[in-house]
Point group: C2
Chain length 339, copies 2
DNA sequence: CGGATTTACCAAAACGTTTCGGTAAGCCGA
DNA sequence: TCGGCTTACCGAAACGTTTTGGTAAATCCG
């Protein structure tokens, strides 16, 4: 009695061939308008919903895209990009009956294994790549596996992969200019790990902006994309003489780590030192003083990336190789002040 | 030439029937050990990997489980549970060839639609339910849809759903006792939204502990699970007279929001007011003073929840209805001090 | 009016896997 | 030696869908 209703049942009830029912329901040509309506009505009445498994097998597609996260749990925990990014992905794929398969890998090597496995079993039709690194080994692997992929990279090309980019250079430049306007001349930079493309883009934007303004690019401190990097950079900074009067940080978490540590050391922000972040995560509004930052739009990035991936899955020839998302805007708050 | 190698190819190459090849590869009985080895060798040599689609259709399973997040992006952004939870889920399902399908819903009504759709298309074999609410409508819906589900709930029963629980009552009680030992007598609580089961469990644990110690349960301030709730509670608290000397917050983000706002208002933590959180998120270690909190173990919870769901998918009769994960431990840091 | 084209539909194949029923061959006990 | 049981294997069906090739009927055009 309960039993699932298949397209065969619909066809039988509507007194047409299974193939005609399929054509009718999928708005394919070869069936009259009258029949199409009848089939659709019957389908609705019977509560027919196509079974994904059948559709997958027959159409040789999985109607799923993959996203693999490398695992360091503490990074996952606070990565601001993640949630909003996924929300954007969902917006783009849901209308096309696609779903997102999320995997978590314990290490980079295992991450590659994840891709190998997804490709071998064809569980997904393509994947999204985040946090692109310099000479990223994933690009070559995915090409070898012939698994469509889209890179989310802030920066120029990425090893022949189609990419979606939201440039962070303009935001970093804007933050740097903002500091220059406030009268700062010794403006340091806390950069991320050298292996990430993000790191280089932001480092160069900071440097170029200072050079352009005729200023000597101040010290570069080694940080990372988490709180710990900011803390470490703070320690380094405290030993500097002369000390910079402003710091452009690679992202918000790093900036917050820096700010909190400097405050612990007795410095006053922005009186002694001005700080800028990048991302625009919520907590930046709550720290004291609130963080001047660049508001990125991860949901937009996710949406565009997923849309581009679907386009490449559909037809790699005709899909664009690069889509740009407007850069984030500078949000001026209390952590920056006049020299 | 590249073309995918199917089980038929393997069977042909090993000179056995397709069905025998299947039995051999899946360690089913009915095939001799010699043949089994030969088939496996041939399969490996040919680089055979079973195609998910075929497996799904034939075995009437999707080998996937679902997780739907309701969307409020700013909550997603920083939810500490999320990343670690997913990592745990992955640990449990990966060995069974299962994958996680993640959906994001824009509202609660759309969240229910997500479940309906997953059930109708049988894209997943079961789902995980987070953030259980009082009289949660999802339980009834999933029962109606006959979609296996496991609830991640901190608390007693959940509408007949199998559940994994990591009690937060012991942690909240420990935090409260810790404050009592420090000499506090006016201990307030910042609770979450009343609709969540979490909220009630923690509220009651706080209250019971105070009553047990012969103290009057102090004021209950309305907060939520994000920074904003802490800020709001801080405003409320600042108007109180007499003011509590300690506050047990429903979670870390809320506690941090509270602490930052109180500090802005000129109060000194823990001199004027002691604060405790719950979760043990990273940033709690970085604020000044560092946050006394209860370290929960979301990865463990995710792992157990996924394992339980698989068990219920496999055989609902024989799987347990409840699995407990050891409660988190109190981590004493600088935000609590002697009265 | 007759041949060509189009339309509306159907039946069967295909996708890759698991599973079911059957069939020889081998083994056991009587 | 023979019936009954087990073992090892095979062929075919089944899962639910899309796609392909074919066939009448209807339409068009000269």
């Amino acid at each position: 009695m309960s039993g699932r209703v298949s397209i065969t049942d619909v066809a039988r009830a509507a007194k047409v061939a299974q193939s005609s029912a399929s054509a009718a329901l999928n708005d394919q040509p070869g069936v009259s308008e009258a029949t199409r309506q009848r089939v659709k009505d019957v389908a609705k009445q019977l509560g027919y919903a196509p079974l994904m498994r059948g559709k997958m097998l027959s159409s040789k597609r999985s109607f799923q895209i993959g996203l693999v996260l490398e695992r360091p749990t503490d990074v996952l925990e606070s990565d601001p990009f993640f949630g909003a990014f996924i929300a954007g992905v969902e917006q783009a794929i849901a209308p096309h009956d696609y779903a997102l398969v999320l995997q978590v890998a314990e290490s980079r090597e295992r991450e590659l294994d994840s891709y190998r496995e997804m490709a071998a079993s064809e569980r997904v039709d393509g994947v999204l790549l985040n946090e692109i690194r310099v000479d990223d080994p994933r690009a070559a692997l995915l090409a070898e596996l012939r698994l469509p992929a889209v890179a989310v990279s802030p920066w120029k090309e990425c090893a022949n992969l189609p990419m979606v980019c939201q440039a962070s250079a303009p935001g970093i430049a804007a933050a740097t200019r903002h500091l220059i306007k406030l009268g700062h001349t010794r403006i340091a930079h806390v950069c991320g790990p050298k292996e990430y493309v993000h790191t280089h883009e932001r480092l160069q934007a900071w440097e170029a902006t200072l050079v352009e303004a005729g200023l000597q690019p101040g010290p570069v401190l080694q940080g990372d994309f988490g709180l710990a990097g900011g803390t470490a950079a703070a320690e380094e900074l405290l030993g500097l003489n002369p000390s910079p009067t402003a710091v452009v940080c690679v992202n918000d978490l790093c900036a917050i780590g820096l700010q909190l540590r400097l405050q612990q050391a007795g410095l006053s922000i922005p009186k002694d030192i001005s700080i800028t972040g990048f991302d625009g995560i919520t907590i930046g509004e709550y720290v004291t003083p609130a963080l001047t930052t660049v508001q990125s739009t991860p949901t937009q990035v996710g949406k565009q990336a997923a849309a581009l991936l679907l386009a490449h899955i559909d037809d790699p020839k005709s899909a664009p190789m690069k889509v740009e998302v407007p850069a984030g805007e500078l949000v001026i708050r209390g952590s920056t002040g006049r020299r």
